[in-house]
Symmetry: C2
Subunit: 351 residues, 2 copies
């Protein structure tokens, strides 16, 4: 396994050390969605290439992954991919429409539909292994974060047929036919597990399990209908020893359960201060977050004041901290504002 030697190389990085709640020379920083839509060099290399195709071209995916590392000097790269890539890889008819997001041609709504969700084999995503191979040389001691969508979020796309504001069909299945729901989400847990294993074995030093939409659920429903599947994923990759980050938006009520599901690091959106998040998550886990992405539209002085508040709450939390936004970089963010923010976090936390 190529993974092992890579992990030794990145183990001393501030990012990996912070994930493990070890001392760091400065607070490490990366940004969700740092690779992609906010960067002019991204739009340039992707010109005329549909997004899902760009994910499956190893050289292009590697280049897009590297762009923010070169430009912003962030402490980790996040593998450029999309939440629906593993679904496409097992043969689902899925496309990403600009302004709309993923569109599933034939949604999954009945027990018969489940048969269309076959297991993911490493060969289905050989482009991932290849892209990560290209990346490792250039990244050196900078860790690469692998990523996958969590079972609930994948299920919502599949059941609704695309992005949904209210997830009403998904919830109707969850409440109305809990057995079908459980079989669906367990199958997605297996696909997600296989996809993350490929990334780790290719050399990713950490992974993030993104449950983008799970903040739409009340805690009791999360515990009953979702947490077992997410725990199954996190448990299945536990043996690799790479830090597992678990994140969703609007999950203030779920932070404790998302940690319990088996995360080493819990990502927090900007609505819950990190010291309060630490109380909800409990001991033994690091935190990632949580500057409001909209703050980057304010003047520098205001950005630094808000970043200082995040760092102060992180210090008060008394656990490991990876600085990030509370959600992805917004498309019209000024890239220079991001670069300045990385510098600010690095210099103001130097030990």
């Amino acid at each position: 396994m190529r993974g092992v030697s890579v992990h030794q190389q990145t183990a001393a990085s501030p990012f990996i050390r912070a994930c493990r709640r070890e001392s760091v020379p400065h607070t490490p920083v990366w940004f969700m969605r740092q690779a992609g839509r906010s960067l002019p060099e991204y739009h340039k290399v992707r010109e005329g290439i549909p997004i899902l195709e760009s994910c499956t071209r190893p050289e292009l995916a590697a280049e897009i992954t590297m762009q923010p590392v070169r430009r912003h000097s962030v402490d980790a790269a996040i593998y450029f991919s999309d939440i629906v890539v593993p679904l496409k890889a097992i043969g689902m008819d899925v496309d990403i429409k600009p302004g709309l997001g993923p569109v599933i041609a034939e949604p999954i709504r009945t027990r018969a539909d489940l048969a269309r969700l076959r297991d993911l084999e490493p060969d289905d995503v050989s482009f991932v292994t290849e892209a990560i191979g290209l990346l490792l040389g250039e990244l050196g001691a900078t860790p690469l974060i692998g990523f996958a969508g969590a079972p609930f979020t994948l299920a919502s796309y599949l059941v609704e047929g695309g992005t949904s504001r209210n997830h009403e069909r998904t919830k109707a299945m969850m409440y109305g036919d809990p057995e079908l729901w459980r079989d669906l989400i367990d199958r997605l847990a297996d696909i997600t597990t296989s996809f993350l294993k490929v990334q780790i074995e290719a050399g990713a030093s950490a992974v993030q399990l993104f449950d983008s939409w799970v903040g739409a659920l009340a805690p009791a429903d999360y515990r009953r209908h979702v947490m077992p599947a997410s725990a199954r994923v996190l448990d299945a990759i536990g043996g690799y020893g790479v830090p597992r980050i678990h994140f969703g938006v609007g999950t203030g009520e779920l932070l404790g359960l998302m940690g319990e599901a088996g995360a080493d690091v819990v990502g927090v959106d900007w609505r819950v201060p990190l010291d309060e998040a630490a109380r909800r998550v409990g001991p033994g886990k690091a935190l990632q977050g949580n500057l409001d992405p909209s703050v980057l539209f304010a003047p520098s002085a205001a950005v630094e004041a808000k970043a200082a508040e995040v760092l102060e709450a992180a210090r008060a939390s008394g656990t490991g901290h990876i600085f990030n936004l509370g959600h992805g970089v917004l498309p019209s963010t000024d890239p220079d504002a991001i670069t300045r923010l990385v510098e600010y976090v690095h210099t103001s936390t130097e030990r």
Copy 2:
């Protein structure tokens, strides 16, 4: 003031008694968005009439307000209006586009723009007084709830120019030019206050201040940049003695502050169980909510099981409870499912 005699007539209703935390013969029920898009009779009477025009025709607004009361036997009517009606009434160029929501032709972004926000005079909304006059006879002892958008939500529409997912321009103003922000939101507080006063003086027995988008803010920002303006509205109408309901979506972190702002009843979305909400809100306030609107897409048995969970948490909260959804009725909800839910709540809580 016509208001006074109306208030005597509705004071014994289960809805008003629950708002005041007095004993009730059964748990009262109403639904946000009960009037409007989910009802075929609504689409029929509005055929060919743009929504903002329907709000300004007294007979039509009264008819739409009454439709769910007749069909579902809910315990209160909510005055049919739209959040942007007072902005339109003071001369802003605002339209509601199907599928898009409000669109503001010239957004408010500079100090000079503030001059376009003049005070609201009762004559600007004489159609409201007239519509409520028509309603009172038919409603009898059933209370009418007046409503208005809260200053933050109005500000977001005005600054962004319409519905926004991330409110980045609004937050950039809030963080980058807090004085301009304060002047904007204070002006909106005065407009909202005038609009609610008209409704109460015409005969509304309660009001709901809707802060639809405020869940996008962290508690410290809410306290510093928004709460004073909302408190100004709630305080200014306190003398009427009508219950003041305060609601926003995704406001789990803000429930205590939204109560503190001067609410008699705090509305809760479905993410926080009502007994936990009661702990956050503190004593002396009733609660409204909080069934997930998506639950209504599940079979009846599942709807009743989830409604029973809400009623159980409400009992455990030990305070007054008005049953509602945790957000508005979704457009494609089956009206019969709503009627059955009202019956279920009434019969299962009969004392």
